[in-house]
């Protein structure tokens, strides 16, 4: 009976070569990486052709896989669970544990594959012009290609170990690319900061993976015959009702800490704006559209684990929603005080990532994934637009206040693509951001998090306002500085601090003849290699929202149909529906809602397993959409008026307000110092870790030894002149003196311990061990 239905189901599910062989996609750029490293310098285009071709191949394969996946989904009914295409080969095995490497292809991975391959291709093309003549041109393309390999590998990963492999590759490439112009101290510092900050979070990834493995391995081996690293196994395990709540909560929290680090969530977001020290194509690819969504992707990938571990749909606010909500507002507020156009975009990215996290935390899986999709296009477009400005108009400066303004006349293409993307970012109907961001806000409210819905709306208001400010400063008003055609060699030094290219790159640029024109001319439009990617991205920023537009009825909800995993109890082979699907109702999930047709995530599945929880979808209401678009317009108009007064009319009442008004001034400096988080991390935490021994010894001097030395001191003094001291000194200022001398003595007594001599440290170590052992022996006698 069972086998019959299995066969029947297998006939229904279509597959194809691209789907079955999607694991090749990350291999292509990986091979290209080695080709670039070994042969790149000898090639006519210095290795960039390998990178571009490999990305085109990956894009073609991703599109093929997407087409075949859509065929596969369309072949079955709306409620049927579509089995992902999972292939696995043993990578290595060790007595009880075997690790596979392979692919786990479903709607989510296909979506991200297409985005990553597409944006990587465009960015690589753009970079051939932007980095023309750079001294490490070949290495740049090698890192960029390796990064794509890492990200694609993470997306197709079949198990957690393979995912970590991709994750770490991205971290490494991010480090190399941020520090691409490492000759300038600020750049290499930014690279180190990014590396260490994400590394701090990555501890969580390792801890979480191990916790989940040890908690899940027995269950997955017994039930599904896969290891506890497998994504499929973990998903089924999390929803089976078997895991202990402690294990899954600890695992989910640990993994989420990794996501906080990678996706720049509060309080580990500080590295992301600094990462703008890298070349602009890097900012565009890694730090806005792809790498930073790795954390969001991980949450979406292992959504059942977070669903159960974080108690999504529980009654209280969960960790993910909280972090996401806080990040939205905190980052958006910071974007107001930036003068560097890339930093505005960086904080905007942090804020948008907060939206994705908040959506995931509130059960809005699909809108969050859709926001990854749309955000990638418009944010990449904005960054490349900023790069286009600095490349052609503002003489490699990114300072909006000093070197931009009035550029709309000179750069019509950059300007119009920028406007389209800005409107998409702000969420104006019918641009793509509207369909994703608004859905997140709507669903967060629908899930019962009213406060966070307001946070989301407020975030949208702030987004509209700071983007309007940035747009005004860049494209409107009078041209200033480099944008006005000024070019002085002496001024160039002053630019160095915010000069993206840095001096070396610039010098190598100078060797290139085009540079001479460049210096003598004023701002102009960039060449085709730069504008074509911009136009493509802007087109997608305008249109990609229609992929999932519930505003126009169910027919338009294509991404929901294609990407969202269907919550159905299935047999362990993932195909046939077992008999008797309903079990005991679970406490964690809420059931009252009529949308819960499936027991997944609400009940313990019986006779089968679930791979995805049943999620609610807020019905689309025009009045809600109208309200949020209204808020966005309000933000734009207010910000526009303020910008005109501040930057063009130089209104006396407004300019310098922060200097005159104490409260506002305090607020401004609080923002300008990024909430003092950097100070906290670098000055306080790092320093205390860097000098723990000296600090510990100092504390020891001050506190512990005081008592001992005090005792010793008094006893010697007793024999000498106890009476004298008592009568005279102690009555007068004995207390004060005593404290002072004893502290000094204690310091002196402990000074030899901190000698810096290795042998003495060894003696202390072994002495402590001996005493410890002795204590144990005595206790056990």
């Amino acid at each position: 009976m069972f086998s019959a239905s299995t066969e029947a189901a297998e006939v229904i599910l279509k597959s194809g070569w691209f789907l079955e062989n999607a694991f090749i996609i990350p291999i292509i750029p990986a091979v290209a990486f080695f080709l670039i490293i070994f042969f790149g310098k000898k090639m006519p285009m210095k290795g960039s052709e390998f990178g571009i071709l490999s990305m085109f191949a990956a894009l073609a394969m991703s599109l093929g896989a997407a087409y075949q996946w859509i065929q596969r989904v369309n072949g079955v009914s709306e409620e049927t669970y579509v089995k992902p295409i999972i292939r696995s080969w043993t990578w290595w095995q060790n007595d009880g544990v075997s690790l596979g490497i392979g692919q786990h292809i479903d709607g989510l991975s296909i979506t991200i594959l297409v985005v990553v391959a597409f944006i990587s291709s465009l960015v690589q093309i753009y970079s051939t012009e932007y980095l023309h003549g750079d001294r490490r041109y070949t290495h740049f393309f090698a890192s960029l290609t390796l990064f794509s390999a890492g990200m694609l590998n993470m997306v197709v990963a079949e198990n957690m170990i393979q995912l970590i492999l991709g994750w770490e590759l991205m971290g490494l490439c991010s480090f190399m690319l941020i520090g691409h112009w490492w000759e300038e101290g600020a750049n290499s510092r930014a690279a180190l900061k990014a590396f260490f900050t994400t590394r701090t979070g990555d501890i969580g990834l390792l801890v979480g993976t191990s916790v989940l493995f040890f908690a899940a391995n027995d269950w997955t081996q017994k039930t599904l015959g896969v290891s506890g690293f497998s994504i499929r196994g973990l998903s089924a395990w999390a929803l089976s009702g078997d895991p202990s709540s402690a294990a899954i909560t600890v695992g989910a929290v640990a993994l989420f800490i990794a996501c906080i680090g990678k996706s720049g969530q509060f309080p580990l977001h500080t590295w992301l704006p600094d990462a703008m020290a890298g070349p602009t194509p890097v900012s565009s690819l890694l730090h806005s559209s792809t790498m930073v969504v790795a954390g969001v992707f991980l949450v979406a990938r292992l959504y059942p684990v977070f669903y159960e571990g974080m108690n999504i749909y529980g009654n209280s606010v969960n960790f993910i929603v909280l972090i996401g909500g806080v990040t939205i507002v905190i980052a958006a507020a910071l974007a107001f005080v930036q003068t560097d156009i890339k930093k505005v975009l960086a904080y905007s990215t942090v804020s948008q990532l907060g939206y994705m996290m908040m959506g995931l935390g509130a059960g809005a899986w699909l809108p969050a994934v859709f926001h990854i999709f749309t955000h990638a296009f418009f944010k990449a477009c904005l960054f490349l637009g900023a790069g286009s400005i600095s490349h052609s108009a503002s003489h490699h400066s990114f300072d909006m206040k000093k070197d931009m303004g009035g550029l709309r006349k000179f750069m019509p293409i950059t300007f119009s693509t920028w406007i389209v993307s800005t409107l998409a970012l702000c969420g104006v109907f019918p641009f793509s951001g509207f369909f994703s961001k608004d859905e997140i806000i709507d669903n967060v409210g629908y899930a019962g998090y009213n406060f966070f819905m307001i946070v989301g709306l407020f975030g949208a208001f702030l987004t509209a306002a700071y983007m309007t400010r940035a747009t005004y400063l860049t494209f409107f008003g009078e041209p200033r500085g480099a944008a006005a055609g000024e070019h002085h060699e002496d001024e160039h030094d002053a630019h160095a601090s915010h000069d993206d290219h840095g001096h070396d790159a610039h010098d190598s640029h100078a060797a290139h003849d085009a540079h001479d024109d460049h210096a003598s001319h004023g701002p102009r439009e960039s060449g085709l290699i730069i504008t074509v990617p911009l136009i493509l991205l802007a087109t997608l920023a305008l249109s990609s929202g229609f992929l999932n537009a519930p505003a126009f009825g169910e027919k338009w909800e294509n991404l929901k149909k294609w990407a969202e995993p269907r919550a159905e109890v299935v047999s362990v082979t993932g195909i046939a529906k077992p008999a008797g699907a309903h079990g005991e109702t679970r406490i964690a999930a809420e059931k009252a809602d009529g949308h819960h047709a499936s027991p997944c995530g609400t009940e313990t599945p019986v006779g089968g397993v679930c791979y995805a929880p049943q999620l609610k979808h807020a019905p689309f209401k025009w009045w809600k959409a109208g309200m949020s678009v209204g808020i966005v317009f309000l933000g734009m108009i207010l910000s526009w008026l303020l910008s005109v007064q501040l930057y063009t009319r130089k209104n006396k009442k407004l300019v310098g307000l922060t200097e005159r008004n104490k409260v506002l001034g305090a607020g401004y400096s609080f923002l300008a110092n990024k909430y003092y988080l950097d100070t906290l991390y670098e000055k306080i935490i790092v320093r205390s870790i860097a000098h723990p021994i000296s600090r510990g010894a100092y504390w020891f001097n001050q506190n512990v030894l005081d008592g001992i030395v005090n005792g010793a001191g008094t006893s010697t003094r007793k024999t000498a002149g106890w009476v004298y001291r008592n009568v005279d000194q102690k009555l007068v200022d004995g207390a004060v003196n005593g404290a002072g001398t004893s502290a000094e003595n204690a310091g002196g007594a402990l000074q030899p311990v901190q000698s810096g001599k290795v042998n003495q440290y060894g003696a202390l170590l072994f002495g402590a061990a001996a005493i410890g052992a002795l204590v144990l022996v005595i206790i056990n006698f």
Partner: protein, 170 residues
């Protein structure tokens, strides 16, 4: 030869080797000549290899001879020669920590001896237990202890690269 004779012979052998090892070890930490210290260390390591044979670990014994006496000692001697102008007795080998070191070592020794005496008293090693074969060891290394083995190979690789990077002149 009776089984008890073998045991007696083993015990006598142990006692002799142990005495040589202790003397050698003491000379390693007290001698005034670095090269002598290295040669005394050879004595101790060779004694350890002999003890391994008494403990029925012939593979380990051979490894000990090859790795320690063959490779590590050569490294030590090279290290000594590359870092010292003269080969001969020197006064300045010890620091002033003897007054701390001796009590610590004695305290540690006393603690351990008390604990061992208390824990194992006169427990005998089984005379007829199945001997561990090299095959079993290799099965373990490439079986359940594969992961540590991998880690170890990375440690060795890192050590090799690290040593080159540290020691090369550029």
């Amino acid at each position: 030869m009776l089984a008890s004779d073998v045991l007696v012979a083993q015990n006598v052998g142990f006692a002799i080797i142990a005495a040589i090892m202790v003397i050698g070890a003491l000379r390693v930490v007290t001698t005034k000549n670095v090269v002598h210290a290295a040669l005394w260390l050879v004595v101790v390591l060779a004694g350890a290899a002999a003890q391994y044979i008494l403990l029925a670990a012939e593979f380990l014994a051979v490894t000990q001879v090859m790795v320690y006496i063959g490779a590590v000692m050569v490294l030590f001697l090279f290290g000594t020669m590359l870092t010292r102008a003269q080969i001969g007795a020197e006064k300045d080998l010890n620091n002033k920590n003897a007054i701390i070191g001796l009590p610590i070592a004695v305290l540690l020794l006393a603690t351990m001896l008390i604990a061992l005496n208390d824990g194992f008293k006169a427990e005998k090693l089984p005379a007829d237990s199945p001997l561990v074969t090299t095959q079993q060891v290799s099965d373990q290394i490439f079986g359940i202890y594969l992961l540590p083995f991998w880690a170890l190979s990375f440690v060795l690789l890192a050590a090799a690269i690290g040593a080159i990077v540290l020691a090369r002149r550029d």
